[in-house]
Symmetry: C2
Subunit: 373 residues, 2 copies
Amino acid sequence: MRFHHAPHSPPSLMAKPSQPRPIARKEPAVPTLEMVAAAAGVSPSTVSRLLNGTAKVSADKRKAVESAIRKLDFVANPVASGLAGGRSRSIGVITQALGSPFYGNGLLGIEDVLVESNYAPLYVSGHWRPRDEQRCLALLESRRVDGMIILTPSLPDADLLALAQRVPLVVTGRSLLGPRLCSLDFDNTEGARLATEHLIALGHTRIAFIKGTASHPDAVERLRGYRIALKAHGIPFDAALTAQGHFIESGGAQATEALLAADVKFTALLAANDQMAYGAALALYRRGLRVPEQVSLVGFDDLMGSSYTLPPLTSVRHSIHEIGRLAAHAVIALIRGEPFSDPVPAPQLMVRESCGPVAGSRRHGRTGTRQVV
Amino acid sequence: MRFHHAPHSPPSLMAKPSQPRPIARKEPAVPTLEMVAAAAGVSPSTVSRLLNGTAKVSADKRKAVESAIRKLDFVANPVASGLAGGRSRSIGVITQALGSPFYGNGLLGIEDVLVESNYAPLYVSGHWRPRDEQRCLALLESRRVDGMIILTPSLPDADLLALAQRVPLVVTGRSLLGPRLCSLDFDNTEGARLATEHLIALGHTRIAFIKGTASHPDAVERLRGYRIALKAHGIPFDAALTAQGHFIESGGAQATEALLAADVKFTALLAANDQMAYGAALALYRRGLRVPEQVSLVGFDDLMGSSYTLPPLTSVRHSIHEIGRLAAHAVIALIRGEPFSDPVPAPQLMVRESCGPVAGSRRHGRTGTRQVV
DNA sequence: GCATCATGTGAAAGCGCTTTCATACACAAT
DNA sequence: ATTGTGTATGAAAGCGCTTTCACATGATGC
């Protein structure tokens, strides 16, 4: 495609008398809709209509076109249709980081349904940096996506509301509503409550909690779920049993060390996500504390890897993959102007081997190994 | 945007005497290059030239245009330029699965450099299914990407060679060469050799190996590295010490169980990737075998999570992130017709805590705990 | 002083589609 | 027959850019 040049060829009169076409055109030239039309003996409009199902076409022409398409091996150029029709058949997806073990699964879900609906996902990641996220937004808008799915929590609601005026929008992790807007909200509170209940049922009352990034809605909801469960069982909330882990492994490890160093006693540890739980597990291991014998550990998100930690980690399953699928279905519905209201799957506790009963349950004697500094 | 019409105004004379414009146009209308030109008092060509640096433009016009752009808040429509110019400023990236803990990082690297070069990455995943990969290829081609990065190993070389005729291509994990083709080949063999050497240096001679999917080039290279190291130290290769793990956690666990059940003795276990090492660790744990006291374990890829396994896993670092960056730089270079030849970083062994010396080194006595069934 | 060349700029022709409008033709209704 | 009422189809006008070509300039050479 790079064979033109000799731009504004200078007045040097006989510059190139009938340019011999710089090197024989070998490219078989990608077939165009127009060529299909010619081959089928119909007008381009008819071909277009057939392709998009925009209008009825008589059976004979349909056949002619179809065979022409097959013969020429024609595939419509989405760039051209995008320009002409104003739609690009692509959906923008803003995520935190493509490589994230958690969101990655969601992207897979999105991709699944988008592709089968003949939309192309355009992924961009915000890296948790508001500036990057803004840039992503701009990029996607300039690419004229037909819809967007926003998986990151840091964009301000007002921006999203404004954006939704221009393009159908699906957001997760908050509950906004608007005409071209759909929120898919996973019940983090309930998930955390479930996890805490589980620990309480095992007899734990000194349950430490490793918090996620405070600015993250998920983090606050999960903390809330923890407190709700505590309250329901008359266990007072103790801020000293709480530490910040920033949703990453190292944060979980540090939080655990802080907890351990602070000399607060706890028999169980609930981390606001699996990654922090992994960090916690390592910190515990370094101190020679055994899971679940001495400390019970619960995570949140149920990452793939959590079935393979030592011991396998009890965690709250979140089915981000399913949420991804839902989000994709939702944008498509939004684009078509159809209603959409499939419920987000409820959280589910995956009980594995990282939790055990608290030392002799209600007996406080022979506690030795369980009551942890 | 749909308010033109009355094209070849029909003979039906006063057909629609000045249509009252179907409902007031509220959209502020996205600014177009033409509007910028008008505002700046120049021709669209000039604006375009300025935008693309295609030709010199006098200082005063440049200023006029720049201020017009700023005032109108204009952003060029990539769809239109794509159609007109034949380039889309997007790069297709085919990966195995977006959510993969390993490739995910590579995607991040790709994204970093692509975005800063003003290209948009278009990710699609093949899910290890050749059919899907073909579909991805077709999708990307139809989207008129300016270049492609192929991270999956299952596409046949011939296809790639053919593809490279049409679009600049960067592939990983093989060494093809061609005019518009660039291969980025990581030295898997060396990586595996390094890992094996490490084990040997610790005194191990009965080293089991968990293989990756046989059809995967990485898998065969890693096996080769293992054998090379063995040979270099005069340790005979024993196929019985080898098991298939398919590059996934469950496969690693099964392979380990098979090895254990087969009654072959080994003191160390090298897995062809970290995910299989995680599975192996779990299988070992279930059997009550301790790492590294009874069995030394080494992985490959150095996933993020490997610093947080119990114990932290010794693994071969692969810097897929860096490879992603290189790949992106490479496509851009290819597109520009520039040469590219940055070397892929060498593998590096990250020594952590999953390996220990073999029982009393050369003394075969008091072996008890280390010689594993 | 005139022919020569370089250079910045504008007009206009697309890129490959979609969509409107108008028409030709088929029937149904008068 | 005559007029309607649809319906399938084609012509042509864009979508918002890029690029070619031609054309004024002004700079240069003899």
